[in-house]
Symmetry: C2
Subunit: 79 residues, 2 copies
């Protein structure tokens, strides 16, 4: 079972990396870009783990390591 995990800053949390990307995109001529937010994309394999257990594992991994629950939220897809 393959998991695709998206970790993003919560709404309202300042995103300096996103602002830097936005500034550079505008400088490069992409004038109609707005609201850039940069997060993490994590792929991992949970071989032999059924989907319901995989969801529990991923929630635990995000709580313990992959996301900072104070400022980040996460979502995921299972393949």
């Amino acid at each position: 079972m393959k998991a695709k995990i998206y970790v993003t800053l919560k709404k309202g949390v300042h995103d300096p990396q996103g602002e830097a990307v936005l500034g550079t995109l505008k400088h490069l001529g992409f004038k109609d870009v707005k609201g850039v937010r940069v997060g993490k994309y994590i792929e991992l394999n949970l071989d032999g783990v059924p989907a319901d257990k995989a969801r529990h594992r991923i929630d635990a991994m995000c709580a313990k390591l992959l996301a900072n629950p104070v400022i980040e939220s996460y979502s995921y897809e299972l393949d």
Copy 2:
């Protein structure tokens, strides 16, 4: 139009960040995790740009700034 862009290391490219995450997950007790790969997830808005133009813009942004074409590949979704 909102774009969700996923930038990942190409297959075969060494991913030290992914290896570090994998090692820590195993150390935390997640023994059945394998093959962690860490990439970037970028959200941006292209207000008032139709879908076909947005695709061109995103390809150009990835080529010029968001992805390193030597070692990274990207994909995206438009909302």
